[in-house]
């Protein structure tokens, strides 16, 4: 199974809604993604995490960042911009998990090399399919890493 086996994927989830985090966990589990989740529920912490400040010290960049755009204090776009400005995060794959389907939201992250823009669906089954999508992203990333050596 992809994402399984010896390697446990490290995923950073930035979302202030615990309900969504729980659903995300269930979706990843249902898709068979073997992972460690780090969950941050506000923009400032996420910013500290990325810049290696505060309590997160020198945590290594995760395999995947799942980012909500609508966050308290610093919003998702800000975090994404900070990531792309930080060398260690420049190529980290990012999936946006937005509560809005608005094209304006998408436009905000244009050019910031987002892997997937996922709108949180208002349906359980559809939500569960997010796990599959994220599994694909991880698989692509691994394939790229192998290709690049």
């Amino acid at each position: 199974m992809l994402g399984g086996g010896d390697h446990k994927a490290r995923i950073l989830v930035v979302d202030d809604n615990p309900g969504d985090v729980e659903l995300l966990r269930m979706a990843l589990a249902e898709a068979g993604v073997n992972c460690d989740l780090t969950v941050l529920d506000n923009g400032r912490e996420a910013l500290e995490f990325v810049q290696g400040r505060g309590r997160f010290g020198a945590a290594p960049p995760p395999d995947l960042v799942i980012l909500d755009l609508n966050l308290p204090r610093n919003d998702g776009t800000e975090i994404l911009e900070a990531m792309r400005a930080t060398e260690s995060y420049a190529e980290t794959p990012v999936a946006i998990l937005s509560s809005s389907s608005s094209s304006r939201e998408q436009a905000k992250v244009e050019g910031l090399r987002v892997k997937r823009f996922i709108v949180k669906p208002p349906d359980l089954d559809k939500y569960m399919r997010i796990g599959v999508i994220l599994r694909e992203v991880l698989a692509e990333e691994r394939a790229r890493g192998i290709a690049e050596g």
Binding site: S100, P122, D123, L124
Partner: protein, 752 residues
């Protein structure tokens, strides 16, 4: 009756003769017949009496012979009857009816008739039988019977008839001869008179006289005839004399007539003359041209026929001037505003007058009518009047002045602006209304005017009657006389005080309007933003409710209390509904919020194709048929037009009748706009709801037809966002047609 006619046609002389002859013959015949019958009657009476006497005498003479029964004596007595040749036979019967004696005329063989009971005369065709009783001393002793031959009467009658016939013949001949003589005394003079009349009429010799031959009625007739001839002869000679005089007069009159006709033909006015009856006698070429009749047709026509005039305003016929002239015997000028209706129906305003034509003795012989076409004059008057009224009613002051600077005219506008009335100011110097600085500009202006220049719209201050200064804009132009010389100046002055004030006020209003527009736009924007954010942020918690109630259902299916499951169903059902409402509200708010303002050329044919694809399931399920005109390409948001068409077509399918939906999409170019229509054969909309269907979340149907009621509100918002209009035409049960327009400017040329 031919007989009667032929009698009527007979010459008088024959009438006379035949009348006399017939009358005479008739009289003779009647009297002859009367005498004949009287004679026959009297003779028979006489004969009976005679026979009675005879039989009485013979009977008395036979009494003795009977008494003594002496046949011989009786025979002798009977023998005396021989003297009466018409007695055929006689017998004497005894009382026992045996014959005593008998007598027979020589050769006669007829027997005695039997005796009757008493005295009796019995008549047969040719004879009379007389029976006479013979009485002695009161006792009947026998009977005498006589048989008398009636042949005598026939003989007598024949003789009479012959006599009458002879008399008739003779008297007829006499009557004929007499009447022939009479005839010549009556008919001859009549024939002579007739002959004279014929001679007069053929020879025209009025000196002939008829000869009088008697003093009776014919004589009177001849006298009257001669008298008449006398009169005619007198008149005839008078006429002959007059004829000779007239020849000379005619030549002279012809010259005069020619002269007059030439004169009338060459004058500019129309002239028509009539005779005393009002019939046209003459019309000059101008008159003919005006009335529109050819000369050959007007002569002798009634004037009214040719010269048809009506009142310009009332259109009622105006009295013929000729009738008026003939009645009043004076010159009449026709009323103003007379319209001549020409032969072809066209109308010409005319001025006219009519006058009687009198002969040397002053007797009216006819009339002469003079008129002229006043179209041109009327037009000029009209223009003048109109100009005068424009000047008079103008709000601006229009003032005339001469070159010395004196006012010559002053309109109502001038009165209004400067306060002086025309009477007050005309004739006074223009310095009366001069503002402070006018002394400087006026000589310069007058000098320029004198050079023929026009000075346009300079502004200046003028003083009104009340001493107030007014701001005026003035244009001055020269006034020319007929010869083109400058004789003065016309000034048009406009009070611009009010205008200046208006401009300021307008600017203030505009500013206020702009402020309120801005605030309106701002609050509109705020509202849209609010709707957008609200619906957006509300989705978040709703999603939680939805998904977690789904989770509850999924996780606890089977072991949960059925009531608990039902409640969870209600929660998720409500959440779903709220979800839809929010999605729609968001879509609705987004249209105005213009999340993405990049409009581009959108091919509506492609939009429609996509809509069909989106609605494929509904179309297949309902068996809907779609027909569409080729659609234009417009500058628009593709997504918004997908929403527009999808809602309209989706509704047409959703609100279908029992029949499969038939949907017709048409496009029509109109002035300034493109008109689209989406027509269906669905259930239609009742008239009272036609407006309400566009109100957001307004629904006409219950849960059996799904929907949030935002679709048409979105359609309306999209159309109005592009500057168009949308409405629906429908009747319950007869389908609906949604019509929307877009400004023609939205269209771009399609690239294919």
């Amino acid at each position: 009756m031919p007989g009667a006619r032929s009698f009527a046609d007979m010459p008088i002389k024959q009438k006379l003769v035949s009348t006399i002859v017939v009358t005479t013959a008739a009289a003779l015949l009647l009297s002859g017949a009367g005498i004949l019958f009287a004679d026959a009657f009297l003779f028979q009476r006489y004969l009976r009496h005679d026979l009675a006497v005879l039989s009485s005498i013979v009977g008395d003479n036979s009494t003795a012979a009977l008494a003594f029964d002496d046949p011989h004596a009786a025979g002798e007595t009977l023998g005396t009857l021989r003297a009466r040749t018409h007695v055929i036979s006689a017998c004497i019967y005894r009382a026992d009816r045996t014959i005593l004696a008998s007598y027979r005329r020589g050769g006669a063989s007829r027997p005695c008739p039997p005796a009757a009971a008493g005295d009796e005369v019995r008549a047969t065709q040719s004879s009379l039988a007389v029976s006479h009783p013979i009485v002695l001393q009161g006792r009947r002793i026998g009977t005498l019977v006589l048989l008398y031959d009636l042949g005598e009467i026939g003989e007598r009658t024949r003789l009479f008839g012959l006599t009458i016939l002879a008399v008739l013949l003779v008297s007829s001949v006499i009557a004929f001869l007499l009447s022939s003589t009479l005839r010549s005394t009556i008919t001859t003079p009549i024939l002579q008179l007739a002959h004279s009349a014929t001679a007069v009429s053929t020879t025209r010799d009025y000196s002939i006289r008829a000869r009088k031959s008697s003093g009776d009625e014919l004589g009177v007739l001849v006298d009257a005839f001669n008298e008449m001839l006398e009169g005619i002869q007198f008149r005839d000679s008078g006429l002959r004399k007059a004829l000779i005089d007239r020849g000379a007069a005619l030549a002279e009159a012809e010259n005069a007539r020619h002269f007059l006709e030439t004169t009338l033909g060459s004058i500019g006015d129309a002239v028509i003359s009539t005779d005393i009856e009002g019939s046209v006698a003459f019309a000059n070429p101008v008159a003919l041209a005006l009335v529109g009749w050819p000369e050959s047709e007007v002569k002798g026509k009634r004037l009214e026929e040719v010269f048809h005039i009506v009142n310009e305003f009332t259109r009622s016929a105006v009295e013929s001037p000729v009738i008026k002239v003939l009645r009043e015997g004076a010159i009449v000028g026709l009323a103003n505003h007379t319209l001549l209706i020409r032969r072809d129906g066209s109308e010409i305003p005319i001025d006219d007058s009519a006058a009687p034509i009198r002969d040397a003795s002053g007797t009216i012989q006819g009339t002469v009518l003079v008129f002229r076409d006043v179209t041109e004059r009327r037009r000029a008057e009209e223009v003048t009047r109109r100009l005068a009224s424009i000047v008079e009613s103008s709000e601006d002051a229009i003032i005339g002045q001469d070159l010395t600077g004196m006012f010559t005219s002053w309109n109502r506008g001038a009165e209004r602006i400067f306060g002086y009335s025309a009477d007050e100011i005309i004739g006074r110097s223009t310095s009366v209304i001069a503002g402070a600085e006018q002394d400087d500009e006026m000589p310069g202006i007058l000098a320029r005017i004198a050079r023929g220049e026009r000075i346009e719209q300079f502004q200046g201050l003028r003083r009104t009657k009340s001493g107030k200064l007014v701001d005026v804009s003035i244009t001055v132009s020269p006034i020319y006389d007929e010869l083109g010389r400058i004789v003065g100046a016309s000034k048009i002055a406009r009070d611009i005080t009010e205008q200046v004030r208006s401009v300021e006020r307008l600017a203030q209003l505009n500013a206020a309007l702009q402020r309120s527009n801005e605030s309106l736009a701002r609050s509109n924007e705020d509202l849209e933003r609010f709707a957008f954010v609200a619906s957006h942020d509300l989705q978040e918690p709703l999603r939680m409710i939805t998904i977690y109630s789904q989770l509850l259902v999924k996780a606890y299916t089977g072991d949960a209390d059925p009531r608990a499951r039902m409640f969870i169903e209600y929660i998720s059902g409500g959440a779903r509904r709220m979800q839809e409402l929010l999605a729609d509200l968001l879509a609705y708010a987004e249209i105005g919020a213009l999340v993405d303002d990049s409009r581009s050329a959108t091919d509506l044919d492609l939009v429609l194709a996509e809509v069909k694809q989106n609605l494929k399931a509904a179309i297949d399920e309902s068996g809907a048929q779609l027909a569409a005109d080729p659609l234009p390409t417009v500058i628009a948001h593709r997504a918004q037009f997908i929403a527009l068409f999808q809602n309209l077509i989706g509704n047409a399918i959703k609100y279908r009748s029992a029949d499969p939906p038939r949907i017709r999409i048409s496009v029509q170019d109109e002035t300034g706009q493109i008109r689209f229509s989406v027509a269906d054969n669905g259930i239609g909309i009742e008239a009272e709801y036609l407006e309400k269907v566009f109100v957001p979340f307004k629904r006409l149907h219950g849960k059996q037809i799904p929907g949030t009621g935002i679709g048409l509100a979105i359609c309306q918002r999209v159309v109005e966002h592009y500057g168009g209009r949308i409405w629906v035409e429908s009747e319950a049960g007869h389908g609906s047609t949604f019509i929307f327009t877009l400004p023609a400017t939205a269209r771009v040329r399609k690239e294919r």
